[in-house]
Every structure is written in C-alpha cells, then in structure tokens.
Symmetry: C2
Subunit: 676 residues, 2 copies
C-alpha cells in the first residue's frame, strides 16, 4: 500500500509520478491512496503540521483496525496528547483527523493506466538551463539529477575549485506557502530581508525608469527612505527557492489596521503564483544594485540593499545560522576569505554539486573552503599569514619600482577600516596595475601578481559550537592569542546540530541532548569570557532575533578591529524543539531571561579611557523557567524527570544570575580602576 | 689536545680514566692537561662558575696566541664583559683567570704509563648492587652502563610496566658541593626539605632508642615541635644524589649569630664526606617513617616528615618543577594516579632505565604513565572514568553479598576528604577483604578484585605550560568542564623548557624565547581565569618560593575538592636565565611585582555565602621592570633592542596592573551580588 500527500488529486498525481515508480506500482499491484494533507491541516487550523491528518488516513485505509474502532481510539489518543495544550488545540486536531479520515481517496491507477501520460515535468534545472553556464549544464545538472556516477573524472576540476553561485540552478520548489509582499503596507524596514535564512527576499531601489520594462503587475512602491527620495522600491521573493519558514512574516513590524493578523508580508500558497513570481524575480535580478557607498549600514533598510553573496543554501527551513552568514556576505562578501569548520555550515555551504556562496557583477565574492573540526582556526590562520606575506611582498616591490610618490603613499597608508576606504584602495590598486602593466621587468610582473593583496582582505573562521567550544577550541584559542587580524564567527546552536544533536560544552544546563539524556548537568561554557581574558581580542555576543541592529554593529566593529575578533551568534535550531518560524522570538526569550547576554568587548575603547566591555543586554526580566518551557529540549525533561528538571532549572537560574552579576560588575568597573 | 677539569691531579686523574680512553690518548699521542677548575673558581669567589678558569687554561696551553698576548686580551675581555656587574665581579674573574692560567698542569702520561693501573673505580651501581632487586641488577644496571643493546628482548617487561623506585640505584655523584646540616642552629622548619628538587634532604623524627645503632657522629637534635616532645630529630642528605643547587641554603631562615653568612644548612665539598654521608643516609632510611596521621599538614615541619614517593629525578640542578611533584607524592602518593604530558616532567619522571617515582614500605606508590602533549588530559580522564566504574561495580557487589550492614554503610558513605578518612577506609577495605576471601562465589571474587577501588584514588594530570596552555589545552578545558574529580597540575615555566625554550602562550610579555626572538608581544594567557569561568572548577595559583604554606594549603584543598581542580604552579627554570640556586627568590620577585598572582577559587565557599575567589597576593609593590631585570630572558631584549624592550615593559606593566585590578574587583564582589 502507498499513501501519498499530494495537492493534485488522484489522476493528476498519477500523471506526475516518474514512470519507473508507476512501473513498480503496476508490477507489485500496489494499492495507492492520495490525500492533500497540507490543505486539510491548514484548513483545520494546524498550520503546516500534517501528522494528525496522515495518521487519520493511515487508519482509514490500512485496515489495521476496524474503521469505527480506529476512529474512536485515535480521537481518545488526540485528547490525551493535546489536552495540556488546551481545548482549542484538541478541537483542531479532531477536526483535522475527521477531515483526513473522510477525504483520503483511492488512486485507481488501473482505470487511469491507459490514459496518455501527462507531459514530462520539467526537471529542477529546466527553467534556467538555457542561461546556465556550460559547467552547470555539463557537470552540475547531471549530479543534481543523481546521474553523477555517469560523469567522467575528466569533467571535474582538477584543482578542487568549484564555481560559485551554483545553488541558484537547483530550483527545489519545496515550500507550500511563500511570502507575498504588500507594497501598500510596507515601511521598507528591511527586517524580512535580514532574517530570511535563504536570501529569497530581496529589496531593490532604483530610478523609476529602471522599471519601464517590468512585467505587468510587478509590485513597487515609492522609496520611503529620504536617502532615496524620488526613487522606486521593490521587494521580491524567489518563490522557487523559498522554504516557507515564515520568519519574514514573524518579524514584520507592520500590521494591517483592517486585520491585525495581516502584515506587510504574508504567507500564501506557492503553486498559484509560481510562474508570476519566477518572472518577477528574474526581472528584479536585472535591476541595478545600489552602490555600496554611501549606504548607512546601521540602518537596516539601507544595509539590506547590499547584495547577498550567499543565497539558497540547503539549510533547514527557518535556519538560525544562515542569516548571520548572509549578513557577512553583504557587508564584506567581495573581499571575504572563509575557513569553514565541519558542521551544518560546511554542509549547506558546500553541498556538492552546488554552493550558496556567489559573486557580484564584478566577479568578486567570498573564497570559501572547509576544513576539519579540529583545525579550522589554524586553517584560516594560514590564510591570514599568506595574505600578510603577499602584502609585505607587494609593499617591498612598490618601493623598488619607479612609481608616483603620491600613489605609493596612498597605497601604503590607506585607511581601509570601512567600505569607503576599501573602495578608494581598490581604485589605487587599479591605477597601480595600469601603470605597472607597461613595465616588463620581473619585479613589475611580480607586483602585478601581488597587487590585489594591498586591498584589505577579511579572513573569517566560521563554525558551530561543536567546533568553537569543543573540538576546535584549542586551535581557536591559539589563533585568538596570536594578535592577527582575523574574525571568528561562532554559529552557536548550543548542540552538535548536523550530527544529530549531541551535547557540546555550549549546551545549556538542563537541556536534553544526546550524551545528556538526563539533561545537561553543567552550565554552558563561557567562551566569550575566556576570549576577553586576553584583553586584546574583540569579543561580542549577538542574537539577531533579539536586537538586529546590534548584530550589524558588532559585525562592522569586529571586522574593522585590526586584531582577532570573536562573535558568538545565537542560532535557534530544529534541535531545540521549537517552531522554526518562531525562531527569532525564541532568541528574544533567550535574551530576556538572561540565558544569552548581548555585549561587546572592544579593546580600542581603552585608548579613549573607557572600559572595553559594554553590556548591551537589559537586566533579565523573564524567569529562566518560562524561557526554558518554550523549548522542547528543556520541556521534555520536565515530563520525563520532573524532580531533576526542577533542580537543574533552579541551578541554571542561579548560574544565569551569577553570570549577569559578574558581567554587570565587569562592565561597571571604572576604566581608571584598570590602570595604576 | 685534551683539557680536563679534575680535582685529582695528573697522576690520579690518569689512573681514573677508563682504559679505552687511555688507549685512545696513547694511540693518538694526545697532549693532556689537567686543572681543578671548580676549586679555582670557588677560591676566586665565582661560586660554581668555571668558564673564566677554563678559558684561561685554554689560552695557556693551546698556543693559539702567544701567552702574553692571550693573557692581555682575555683580561681586557673580562673588563668588557663584567664591567656592568661592578668592580668586584671583574676582580674575581681576573683572579680566577690568573689562577687558571698559572695552575693548569701537563698530564705526562708517558711517564705514568708503566706504573700499575689504579684499582678500577666502582660503577655507579656498585655501592648498592648487593641490595638491589634482581631486575635492577639484570636489566637496569646494564642499561645504566650503556650496555642496554646487549640485553635480550625477553629481559624487558612484556606489558610495558617498569619497577618504581629505581632512580635510587643510579648514584651520580655530580655535585661538587652538597649541603651539610648544622643541628645546633636548625629550627627544624622543614623548608630545606620542601624545596629540594631531588628529595635528597630528609627529616625524620623517632624515639631516642631508634638511634641506638646509629653510626658514630650521626647528627641529631632534640625534636623542637611539641607534637614530638621527647623524640629525636635528624636531617640527612643523600650526598651521592644531590645536584648541589643550593636552594636549601637559600631558603634557610636561620643565620648563625656569629657569622651571618652561615645558615643552619651550608654547602660543603662533597668528596671528603661522601663515605660518611653514604653511611648516614643509609642508616636514616632504616629509621621508621612517622605515622601519616595525625600530622598537621599545614605546618611544614610536620608535613615534610611525610615520605616523598618521588626521589632523585634527572631534572636540572635547582629545578622549579620537581618540588611540586615531590609535595604531591608526600601528601597523596600512596593513592596517586598520574597522567603525565610530554615535557620535562615526562623525561625526568620516566627517564629509562630508572624512574624517580617510588613506593612506601607498604608497597604503595604513584602509578604513573606518560601520554602525548595533545591528549594527556583525556588520558587521565580515562583513568578517572575507569576508577569510578570499578567503584560502582564494587558498590553494586557489596549490596549483593551477605555482609555486616555497618561495614557496608561505612564503606559506602565514608568521608575520605582527608588523610584520616582515607586511613579509616583502608581499614574497612581490609576488613571487607578478610570477610570476602572465605566466599568462593564469583561475586565475592569479583568484589575482591575491585575492593581497592572503594578507597578514593587521586587522579592527577601533570604537565607544563606547553601542554596546558597550548597543545593540550583543548583537552584540558574539556576535562575541566566534565565535573569529574580530577586534579590538573600545571608546572608553569612559561616556556617549552624541554625542547629548548620555545615561547608558549604562558610566556610573559617582553620575554625572549625561541619564536619570540624580539620579545613576546602579547600578554601571558590567563588560564586560571578561563578555568574559573566554569564556576565549578577549583582553581588556584601558587608559587612555592613566594608562599610555601599557601602551596601546601592549595594542594590539600584541590585534592579534597570533589570535582575538577586546576593548580597553576610557578616554576623557575634554566630557560629564564637565572642563577638556579636563587630560583625561590625569583619566585618571590614574580609575586611581589604582581606578574604572578597567588589566589584560590573554591566553589565550595558559595555554600557558605562567600565569594569563591580569595586573592592571596598582596598588592604589587615592586615595579615590574625591576623584577624583569633580574632575569636574562627579559634583560637580553633591553640589550639588543632597548626601545622595543622599554615599550614592551611598559605594556607589560599596564597588563599586570589591569589584571591586578580585575582580580581585586572579582574577589571583592559581595557574595550576595552573585545571587538574585
């Protein structure tokens, strides 16, 4: 027996099945049933959850129990399971059960078999195959179609490099619902763009003329930001790449006065608008990018106009990690080198045959490579050392060649601490290359080779808590102690997410995880405090869902700091046992309860007579137990071992209180108390 | 040409040379010269330094320069080299030069060759060969004589174990001078015994009758401690094992009223008293050990009566590390398991074919093994896990067997936090074994096998800063986070001592080391603060030379803490460029300048409403630059790069001041500020 969840009804579903599968069904004479469980669940008020509907269908068609008895027992089970969530939830599940029980349909393929097969569905690649580069068509497409074994070895790059920007060719169409922009309500704050884990929401601003060739119905609005007075704003969604998580809707600050549940962006079924969305998305990509200067990067609405150079990763719907990487790609992507530790980010970051890392129109984008859990920090350190060596070589060669003194002085002493400085240095390097190109001496040719190293490159060490707190900690600590200009970004899901949820030293006290089945008995390691103890490391702790502008400020400060920087970024995760569409709210709870602190430790402040530590969190105002109760990883211990859960929760509260008191005291130390 | 430093004069020296060497000299017709440089240097006031004397002899006999010119140039060089140390030092070196130049003698072996050869000198092992166990005679002795290659493989233990207490058979007789006790002056404080790096000074107390058979002239005094009223005290020196460092003399608090330079222990030439000292040492070993309870371990004079189970290691003369290990062996040696990281301590701790680790009369002693730099903490963690598992097995078996309820209750709930508790538990285990031995059931036999695991074993992770701060830090951090009952002892020489002085993250700012030839530019890593951030780790920082009773208190507290403990122990080292006999004074300077803090962080204090952190250092009262100037590792930068040295010294002073202010603030936090 086969039970399919399909929105297409029996006949159309049959037509859409691959011929090989239909053959199996025919050969084995399987009975096939169809239900549109997604619709049924949604109509019953269960949102995206289909488990109750599918359970109903199973008992309706399997004959495991007589139908009446099955129905009776399942309804009793629903009462048992959902009673503690309230009567409304019970009622919705009962409604979903009844509807599923009633609506499941036999797919009578025998009657359909002789009808002509529907036209073959386009493969994932079909829509863009014409535009795709030769390598995508020749190598990536067969791999996506699971025919990679048929490729000759000679088709693969011999040096291990892989073209960037290839995730865009894998149109997965996995979202039942996708966001739709309400141009009239939108305040153009950019928050939906910021939080989207898959970079499927993009804002653009351009002169009205740029929209002359827009498809009919292409949504726009007058730009609200005074910086773009007279220009036109649009917000577009890559509906075929969206995973339907709904984070964008959850963070939208605007409510429709006529219907408080309506926001300036709302989830709608994807299928009906797929074709139009594809056309609109394609046009929006053709619009020019807003120049990178002079954007005010501290205003999210402006900052989020920066082109992401990380798009459509294979991360979970609602992933809490990817928005941080996308942000880094927007801010620094055209001069990023990333050493990525093993973990989720190494999988969705380099998910052969595609990668979400991509390039801008100038061909600039992050250079990315993955290394092991245990040596990733050192791997990135090597990148830094190599770049610094190349820069030194270029500087030495500059002095050896007959070049204008002003140009040399500019190249040597350039302030590259912000975007404007980078742009100016790029112009100098271009001028240098033009001059040197005429010179055929070996020194000149060597300078040409190393000239790009005069532009400040941004080296980032990226990984999860399993890397930074545990397996790679020794190396991370060593690299942070080096004084070198590096940035470490820890995507802290507080658990080994990618390998199935093992406890790490970042796992909070009381959370259930693998190897911590009875709840973790020790407090979360304070990696930030350890790094601060060096005194010359920029250290910050952020939670995008709690304070987004704080996160952006930290990224900018960390990157501009001419030494080692460590960013601890709270990332909600499916391993937490939460509704992922509410991930940003969970981040707020973590901060409100004091379980996650927001702070910045900037050694540069000492030169101004200030305490380097700024505590950016308010005093905890939410009892920790309340925040914990909102996540299944904590809640499940309350159910299985209530006494132990209560003891651990109390101990965790004490640990949180102590930590808050400690940080408050450290941040309150008068700066002059720190000097003799 | 051969130039020998020998106290024996030409003829006797020739007689003492190995026949093989004499044969080489004869065959090659070498000219041989002899000087008693040690005596000449000492008489000139240079202490143990012989470099000037040997230089004089070289120029006197080599003919590289005419004698007059050589003398003239060398005297000028002495002025240049020692002028900044003052005229007295110059004068002493000139005197040593002149004496060496005049006293070097030709060894006319041609004239001596026909005289009968002197009787063969005893080998290192000879004095004790008769008492030595068969394994020592059969295996260790040939290896000490460098004939190990001649041993059959079958002679070696097949399981890799090696007998303890074997260093005592390697009588090296390397000290020109050894300490001699002045029983009339001595206040019996125990400090000389405590600091001796090679455990060659031992104090014993026994009833007067025990001394009836003492050799004539065996030095004793009436015991001064009221706890031993009416008993007799003696302090003996293993002159053949002493390295002559002089630390014992430097820490002696007593001065002779008649001659302030004389202490209650003084260095004297070893050779004249060797035979007597051997006899006295041998007798002192036969005296009974003082019972381990009820010693007051906080009084050094009593604590140092504990038998060391670590003796005669192959460490440098004046080593700053070994006194800590010896102390641990005294306090806990009969139930110690040691995981020893690679480094100096793994070399002198297991210097094949001997080991300094030994057993007491009951056959109990430390079990010791060496693992890698990168996994030593985990190695010891495995020991802990295995022991805990054996204890659990024993506890489960206890409940299964028909045993007296009182015995079981005692075994299960024993308080083993101090020596008395351990002794009581050992008695219970002995009683248990007697009872169970009668029982032939498999459970009883299994319990017999695991019964010893009911006595609390003390697991120690031992290593240097290269291990703890650098290569093994990831593992150490992981183990400290485990909550398990382990003790980590970091012998912090602030440099990779054993491999030749490479900088580690423990190397202080401004110190010159390999890989930090221009002085280390970053501050010393604050490993203790990192460990304190866990909140449930006992952390302490000690310097034996600065506060000896503090060190003992810390060892006792750490060991009794039923969780992870970390002791950071300042260890002076030849790599610091100091006179090793002044090592304990250097430790004082490190503490007085605030460069090394003394503190204890004891999580148990929270239960009493107290701040866990106690800062045991006084406020820094010595400018850091003064302390730095006393060590060559800092001083040499002042000579080679004075500007950079000054900048680093100023930065180091700021870092020390900041750290002091931070620790003072942390220790001053009211305990109730740490709870909500």
């Amino acid at each position: 027996m086969v039970l399919l969840n399909s929105p297409h009804g029996p006949a159309d579903t049959w037509a859409r099945l691959p011929e090989r599968l239909r053959q199996t069904i025919r050969t084995q004479a399987l009975r096939v049933f169809v239900i549109d469980a997604t619709r049924v669940g949604r109509e019953a008020g269960l949102g995206p959850h289909i488990n109750t509907v599918m359970q109903a269908c199973f008992f309706a068609v399997s004959g495991v129990l007589p139908r009446d008895e099955a129905s009776q027992r399942c309804r009793a089970a629903i009462h048992n399971t959902y009673a503690r969530k309230g009567e409304a939830v019970v009622a919705r599940n009962l409604a979903a059960f009844d509807a599923g029980f009633a609506q499941v349909q036999l797919l009578d393929w025998g009657a359909l078999a002789r009808e002509p097969a529907a036209p073959a569905q386009p493969t994932a690649l079909a829509p863009l195959a014409g535009d795709a580069p030769p390598f995508v068509r020749a190598v990536i497409a067969p791999m996506l179609e699971r025919r990679g074994d048929a490729l000759p070895v000679s088709a693969l790059p011999c040096d291990g490099t892989w073209p960037l920007g290839t995730a865009r060719y894998d149109k997965r169409n996995i979202a039942g619902e996708v966001p739709l922009w309400q141009s009239d309500l939108c305040v153009q704050c950019g928050k939906c763009v910021l939080v989207c884990p898959h970079a499927v929401i993009r804002a653009k601003v351009a002169a009205p003329e740029a929209f002359a060739a827009a498809p009919p119905g292409f949504a726009t609005a007058a730009a609200r930001d005074h910086a773009f007075a007279g220009q036109t704003f649009t917000l577009q969604v890559a509906a075929e790449d969206c995973t339907g998580c709904g984070l964008c809707v959850a963070v939208c600050p605007v409510s429709d006065p006529a219907d408080a549940r309506r926001r300036a962006i709302n989830m709608v079924p994807q299928r009906p608008l797929r074709t139009m969305a594809r056309r609109d998305w394609s046009f929006s990509l053709s619009l020019p990018e807003v120049p990178r200067t002079p954007l005010n990067l501290h205003r999210i609405g402006q900052q989020q106009l920066q082109q992401p150079l990380f798009e459509f990763p294979g991360a979970c719907a609602g992933c809490g990690e990817t928005p941080y990487l996308k942000l880094a790609s927007q801010l620094f992507g055209d001069r990023l080198l990333i050493a990525n530790a093993t973990g989720c980010s190494s999988i969705y970051g380099g998910n052969l045959p595609t990668t979400p890392w991509c390039t801008n129109a100038q061909g600039r984008g992050p250079a990315w490579s993955n290394s092991l859990f245990e040596d990733n920090a050192e791997f990135g350190f090597g990148m830094r050392v190599a770049l610094d060596q190349r820069r030194q070589t270029a500087l030495a060669l500059l002095a050896d060649l007959p070049l204008p003194a002003a140009l040399i002085a500019g190249l040597v002493s350039a302030d590259q601490s912000d975007e404007a400085g980078i742009v100016a240095q790029r112009q100098r390097v271009a001028a240098l290359k033009t001059l040197v190109q005429q010179n055929q001496t070996p020194q000149a040719q060597r300078l040409l080779h190393h000239a790009d190293a005069l532009v400040r490159t941004s080296v980032w060490l990226v990984g999860g808590d399993g890397w930074a707190y545990d397996i790679g900690f020794g190396g991370l600590d060593h690299v942070l102690a080096s004084g070198r200009d590096l940035n470490a970004l820890v995507l802290d899901t507080e658990v080994y997410s990618n390998t199935g949820g093992q406890a790490s030293k970042a796992t909070p006290m009381g959370a259930v995880a693998r190897f911590a089945a009875a709840g973790k008995a020790t407090a979360k390691k304070d990696l930030g405090l350890m790094a601060m103890s060096y005194g010359d490391v920029y250290v910050a702790s952020v939670a995008l869902g709690a304070r987004d502008e704080h996160t952006i400020r930290v990224f900018l400060e960390a990157e501009s700091y001419p030494g080692p920087a460590l960013i601890l970024a709270y990332a909600h995760c499916i391993a937490h046992g939460i509704a992922m569409g509410e991930g940003m709210t969970q981040q707020q709870l973590a901060v409100q309860s004091g379980r996650w602190l927001l702070y910045r430790f900037d050694p540069r402040r000492r030169a101004r007579g200030l305490n380097p530590l700024q505590l950016d969190s308010p005093a905890p105002r939410l009892p920790l137990a309340e925040a914990m109760a909102s996540e299944h990883r904590f809640r499940q211990l309350q159910q299985s071992q209530p006494t132990r859960a209560a003891a651990l929760a109390a101990a965790a509260q004490r640990a949180v209180d102590r930590r808050w008191a400690l940080y408050r005291a450290l941040a309150a130390l008068p700066a002059n108390a720190l000097e003799r």
